[in-house]
Symmetry: C7
Subunit: 193 residues, 7 copies
């Protein structure tokens, strides 16, 4: 999921969200230099398609994460380039289950049950640690996400602009929640201003 912090009223928000679909079953959220992220997003999409063509099956979430992190690592070890200035969270569902991987500009990645990156990260991680349970279902997870984002934005005195992408285990298809649905959750939870 992603909270958009821009408050420029003349900006077209739809071109600035920070969640990208990489393949039917996997997406990524970015924090950092969006121009650097684009390069990696393009690579990730190529890797996903290439895996499908080569093995006739959807790429594992860890594999796509590793491929991108191998590129990141390369850019930290070799001269003539600078490292990618972007952290990414990969999330998706594959034949081994649901996965979330947090990555670092150095190319390091780790698996997580729930993960946040960027400004407001501490606020969100604290809520996750207090309220996240392994057995949390999809609906409750979305509500938890909405709550986290609302708190994080509120702490930083920013308006509530939220974008959420989900990959339900049932469908294994990434979908972006409509603004209406998010608004409903916000109202149910008594959040927003």
């Amino acid at each position: 999921m992603g909270a958009e912090e821009t408050v420029d009223p003349l900006e077209e928000a739809r071109f600035s969200w920070k969640i990208f679909k990489l393949d039917d079953h996997v997406g990524a959220g970015i924090v950092g230099l969006s121009s650097d992220a684009r390069v990696l997003i393009d690579q990730a999409r190529i890797q996903a398609q290439s895996n499908k063509l080569t093995y006739d099956e959807a790429i594992d979430v860890e594999v796509i994460t590793k491929r991108i992190c191998d590129i990141k690592q390369l850019y930290t070890q070799h001269a003539g380039v600078r490292p990618f200035g972007v952290s990414m969270i990969f999330g998706g569902v594959d034949k081994t289950g649901s996965h979330v991987f947090g990555t670092h500009p150095s190319g390091t990645y780790r698996g997580y049950k729930a993960r946040a990156e960027g400004a407001g990260r501490e606020t969100v991680m604290k809520i996750f640690e207090d309220e996240y349970r392994e057995e949390t279902g999809l609906e409750d997870a979305i509500k938890l996400a909405v709550k986290c984002l609302a708190k994080a934005l509120d702490t930083r005195q920013l308006p509530l602009r939220v974008k959420i992408g989900i990959v339900p285990s049932a469908t294994m298809k990434i979908e972006m929640l409509s603004d209406e649905r998010i608004t409903k959750y916000v109202e149910e939870l008594g959040l927003g201003k």
Copy 2:
């Protein structure tokens, strides 16, 4: 649109305007090093033609923006080159509607409803924020632009030299407004000196 700030009376203005047609339906305004901009303008025109040849349809405004920003990004990450010293605003109409994208030398871009770059930017953005409405039609948009440019030049005590390019949704063809038409708007608005 573009306001020309040069006041060298011996300059041939027609070779110095900062608005370029990239394809029938899309143009760009530049701020910064015009020699660097030329390289990107040339690339943008090639991308537009290449898209037409490959897919037999006009390139999307976001796609041409992304292509040029990918080049900009490359020049910030790789050794042996320096970044392009130019910001560009891409504007045009494609099958998904009218779009304006502001870009940065880092290769970052964002979509906008109305956007200004360069000297006088603050003056113009303030007027946009106060007076721009989503429902503004083309005629009123041009008047707003003329007003913005006139104010920005006046603030900097420069003569009123204005060039405006438009891409009407109806025609999807970029056209540069004639000096006569601009003069008419200036007079209607009671601007100029």
Copy 3:
């Protein structure tokens, strides 16, 4: 064997262990930058397969160690790259017996009877020096390892999270001990909290 020091309760431990199988008969533990380690792990696996294809026999533990250390050395002597920021311990059984090799980012390696690297190394090496005997059997060796890791983690006031990989001389096959089996050892030894 490896002790996982992360205490982030939301991390998926199974993606963060620091022991890797390189081939049926040989594995490696890593300390340092995990993104750098991945590059070398990938190379080691390729070397192991390549040896099998070329000579139709499993790669010697020293040979796989030397190959990886030759790559490490290359990255210290040639411009355009930085050295790998990772120490690795290779362990396995080949036709010449059981071997443990400790390696250094410079590409130096040495053979050991028992070896530890990383945080807590001093604690572990002291126990090894006091208690390790050449004639120690596999069962006792595992117990010694569990004891070492428990002490090292306890000294650093970290919870007892332990992963152990063994390559029995009898089977010459690497296997990761199940959490249950490790727990049993921990209880037998009266360790953990």
Copy 4:
């Protein structure tokens, strides 16, 4: 046009003038490092011939200027080279009329009605601004040039050594004025010492 400032009495002036014919209809004046200028002059001549061979028509004055300025730009953005230390003024007549372009080592160029570069530039530009008129004919333009150069050299207490190249709209052929003709203008204007 060009004023030669060298006063070494043993120099062979004919090898030191700073005006070069690039093609029948276009020439260039240089200011700066003559060795760098030679590289660009050679390139400009190649571009002019290449245009003639490819399109069977004389190269546009702006096109030849752009080509050379693109090379200049390249040398400012890429490592392994230094920028060209030379400003150039391109002048000529093509199917779109008479043109003068001033260029900068960065690769920027602009169109001008009348332009001077180098030492004495301020003196000359002031006279141009006061006395140049759009309707000035060729004869009067030459006289104006002679006057400018004489004033500029006089201000710097240098002897009157002047070389003038013209491209009449009628012939579209560059020609260097003979010393006799220049002397006649000097006398008519009551200049020289």
Copy 5:
């Protein structure tokens, strides 16, 4: 010959000795970075085999020394690499007799009758200068070596761990002395602790 200074009781000494067989008739001792030395040892072995294949005779001791020193020299003169951080002593018997060559990281080498490198070098060289005689036979030479190493280790308060390789003129085959044989010499000489 080589004295091993490591006193880590858990180290497997057999992987750490500093004497290497390069071909049947020639070996080398190393001092310095063992990872750098491995690269040169590998090269020396290739040179020896290549000489045998090309000329059908064993490589001269000076030739193998020169080949390796030419590589060392290359790494001091060319950019993009750092010099090899290792001194090496080459010793062997070829058709021109017995030879010992001392080499330097710069690629310089010199022939010696007896030579030591590394920690304890001064102690050893002093004994060599006092006691070495041209007419010393193999048995006495080994005893002298054992004495030197024992003194050098004793001076540095290290335990007596000694490895000796010899190339008898009679056999022209390098052989590593067994621990038993070395122990016998040590006892004969009344050395060790």
Copy 6:
């Protein structure tokens, strides 16, 4: 012409003169690093032969000068090399007459009626400016040169060692004056010590 300043009595002067024949009709004098000069002399001779083979006529003196200066320019603009540390004077006779070109390490060159470079240059140029006349014949020119060199060497308190090369317009062949002929001129002029 060239004055040799070395006074090492054991030097073989014939290998140290600074005048080189480039082709039958053209030669060059050098000042600066003789090792750098050799590279350019070799190139100049290749250019001269290449011109003869391609066009079946002797290379123009200006053309050979330009070719060498283009190489000099290249070495000032591109990384990975340093500029040539040598000034050169090219002199010769071609179908357009007699020419002397002075060149600079930057690659700049200019035509001269008479030219000197190097230590003593000021002394010589002063005499040239006072005494050189356009109508000076070959014999008088040689005498003037001898006088200049004698004065320059005398000012610097160096013995009179002089080498003179001439290219008479009549023969268009470069020839080095014999020591006897130079001595005769010296005596006629009452110079030397």
Copy 7:
């Protein structure tokens, strides 16, 4: 000729002399980094053989000198390498007579009647200047050399170790004088200690 200054009694002098045969008729003495010298000696021998194969005659002494100095020059002008840290004196007899050339790390060379380089150079050059005569025959030249070396070593309080190579005009074959012959000269001259 060469005086060996090493006094390490365990060194094998025969591998350390500083005189090298390049071809039958030409040799070189070196001063400086012997590892750098080896690279140039190898090149010189290749040039000599290549000349013999190409032109079926022995390479001129100046030509072999120039070839090596061209390599030296290259290493001073191009990036990615450092200059050769070695001065060399080339000496030999070819169809144009006997020649001695002194060279410099910059690639400069000059012809000499007699030349010394390295430590003790001043002492030797002084004797040469006082006592060398053009008409000196081979025997007297050798005696002069022995005297020079003896004085130079004596001044530096070093033992008399001397190696002399000669190329008699009669045979045009380089030969190294035997130790006996040198000893005879030393005794005749009443030198040595």
